[in-house]
């Protein structure tokens, strides 16, 4: 299908010419498979499998037939409760070919959390790995999922399946929904960020061009695929150039970081700051000579960690800024490394404009701090089903991030503060309200407040303050979280204010709003 440039221009919203060449992500993959059939597309060391572009394209077509047998078609949504695996990527591209939306779901979430996402996105089918079958049995019992089909990917027998109707693939437009990625929400429930094919194509192309990726570029995908960063920076960006990706499971691979880089001659990877801190603290030894750079974002990178990492391993780190709502990165530091401006999150990618708005909502002059806002091809379509939040966040032609910073005279962005009190633990976003909601369900808890506290390895960790109405141990409170929230959202420490000598109550303002800043100050000064 010819690229609809009029449709693109309508959604461009930026003054410069930055055009994507494809209507949808499957078209990009298919074009590269035709151009580089024998080149390696993806390597999965855990599965001992290497796929050429051609091999993988054939398997995607097989999965497409399977989706048709399951009556998954254009406009339907498919949930993927899969770790990093060939099945994830095969179903990802197969769904795109059919015009279906992919809803990647973190397999570490608890059954009620998975059920919430599946119901909210109204997924037609959930594909899962047999490792998670026990969890999925619980999910299936949830209300609102009566019509959802749950499919264990090990049961998919594409070779012996009867040939499905092999009708032509539907037209999938650049503005069609591609993925819905769930992020933590202020009300405690996660919000579904709807990203179009144009969003994925534009952001990945911009990143690929920014770092001068070529068909020889090989990336290491060590971030989970249910995040935008793993999908866009280490899978789709090299795909744009005809490069290849080594895909490894995050939990088991971190200790092997430099071994993997050497074994597979990796050039680039993308990480959260906490990963750099862990590699440093684990005293891993660099063994390669291939690594060109590491892209880093998702939370503030501590200057000390950055300097120590670069001095130890002699690999430049390219910091950037972005949110799920901007597909992945909206800004990045300049490549090559001597063009970086340290202490900044770089400049706006060509796929979007970044502006700072002052308190009056006017564009601020260079050097003046205000809210970071963006417009462009990588800005999400909407938050799924949240019209009030959409009205607030997508005002005028801008996405209002709620984050604060400024832009200097050279166009470099200085990030200042994260919005609200969102906790960013090892790159995972946790809203205090999610944790508080569980604590409030405990019969002995009268009041509680949850804050993010500085943590050397994870950037931030979770601490809860509770006021009890009857006797209860901290261990009992900690146990109360099991099965209700994913483990990474459990508080590291719980303080019972009744037992603290100099804090008799949870501090509150005149309107009885909890003063989270006061609690953080108290924690830093006293605990």
């Amino acid at each position: 299908m010819r690229v609809n440039r009029d449709l693109l221009r309508e959604h461009q919203k930026i003054d410069r010419d930055f055009f994507v060449e494809y209507n949808n992500v499957y078209e990009l993959f298919s074009a590269q498979a035709k151009k580089f059939p024998q080149k390696i597309f993806a390597i999965f060391p855990e599965y001992n499998k290497t796929f050429s572009y051609e091999d993988f394209a054939d398997k995607v077509v097989e999965r497409t037939r399977y989706l048709r047998q399951q009556h998954v078609s254009k406009g339907d949504r498919t949930g993927l409760v899969l770790g990093t695996s060939p099945d994830f990527i095969l179903l990802y591209f197969a769904a795109f070919r059919e015009g279906a939306t992919v809803v990647p779901i973190n397999p570490d979430l608890s059954p009620p959390e998975i059920a919430y996402i599946a119901a909210d996105a109204n997924v037609k089918a959930v594909f899962y790995n047999d490792r998670f079958s026990k969890k999925i049995l619980e999910v299936q019992k949830a209300a609102g999922l009566g019509r959802t089909v749950f499919i264990d990917v090990s049961s998919i027998d594409v070779k012996n399946a009867p040939e499905a109707e092999d009708s032509a693939a539907p037209d999938v437009l650049c503005t069609d929904e591609a993925v819905i990625i769930y992020t933590s929400g202020t009300t405690g429930n996660p919000k579904g960020v709807v990203l179009s094919h144009l969003n994925l194509l534009a952001d990945s192309q911009a990143i690929s061009e920014w770092f001068c990726f070529t068909p020889n570029t090989r990336t290491l995908c060590i971030l989970p695929l249910f995040h935008n960063n793993g999908q866009v920076v280490t899978l789709l960006a090299p795909l744009n150039a005809g490069g290849s990706t080594v895909m490894v499971p995050p939990k088991t691979s971190l200790g092997l970081f430099w071994s993997l880089v050497r074994e597979y001659s990796i050039h680039w990877t993308s990480v959260m700051p906490s990963i750099l801190a862990i590699i440093l603290s684990a005293k891993l030894e660099r063994k390669d000579s291939s690594m060109v750079g590491i892209v880093c974002g998702g939370q503030v990178l501590n200057d000390e960690v950055k300097a120590q990492f670069e001095n130890t391993f002699h690999v430049p780190i390219f910091e950037g800024y972005g949110l799920t709502e901007t597909t992945s990165f909206a800004s990045l530091n300049q490549f090559p490394a001597n063009n970086r401006k340290l202490g900044t999150v770089g400049r706006a990618l060509p796929s979007n404009d970044i502006v700072i708005l002052d308190e009056a909502g006017q564009e601020a002059a260079r050097g003046i701090e205000g809210e970071i806002c963006m417009r462009g091809l990588n800005i999400m379509t909407e938050y799924l089903g949240l019209s009030e939040v959409n009205k607030k966040s997508l005002r005028g032609d801008l996405f209002h991030s709620g984050d604060y910073g400024y832009i200097d005279a050279d166009g470099y962005i200085y990030f200042r503060t994260r919005k609200d009190y969102l906790i960013s633990k090892g790159g995972e976003k946790i809203y205090p309200s999610e944790v508080e909601n569980v604590l409030f369900g405990h019969p002995a808890v009268d009041e509680c407040a949850v804050i993010g506290v500085p943590d050397k390895l994870l950037g931030q960790d979770i601490v809860a303050f509770v006021k009890l109405n009857s006797k209860c141990s901290k261990d009992s409170l900690k146990e109360f979280f099991i099965g209700k929230l994913a483990h990474y959202k459990h508080p590291k420490k719980i303080f019972i204010v009744n037992e603290l000598a100099d804090l008799t109550d949870i501090p509150k303002g005149p309107t009885k709003k909890v003063l989270y800043r006061e609690l953080l100050k108290y924690y830093i000064e006293n605990l």
Binding site: P250, L254, Y488
Partner: protein, 78 residues
């Protein structure tokens, strides 16, 4: 698996994850078995059993069954 190795592994699992070893334990069922703990687990296993596990095997060590099999493979070689 010989009793001495089994006991040593049980001690490591208890120390790192705070749970009693059973064959059904896996990365997906043990709370807190994250990337950092996995690094600690691998380092401890290599130190205690005086072995060096290659990356392919490290990726496969996602549950107690596979961990036991892989430790046996390396200790048998010695």
């Amino acid at each position: 698996m010989n009793k001495k190795i089994e006991e040593k592994l049980a001690k490591i699992i208890k120390e790192i994850f705070g749970v009693k070893i059973t064959d059904s334990l896996s990365m997906d069922s043990v709370e807190g078995w994250d990337s950092l703990r996995h690094i600690q687990l691998m380092a401890k296993i290599e130190k205690e059993f005086d072995i060096e596990i290659d990356f392919q095997d490290t990726l496969a060590m996602t549950n107690i069954k596979s961990i036991k099999e892989i430790i046996e493979k390396y200790t048998d070689k010695k």
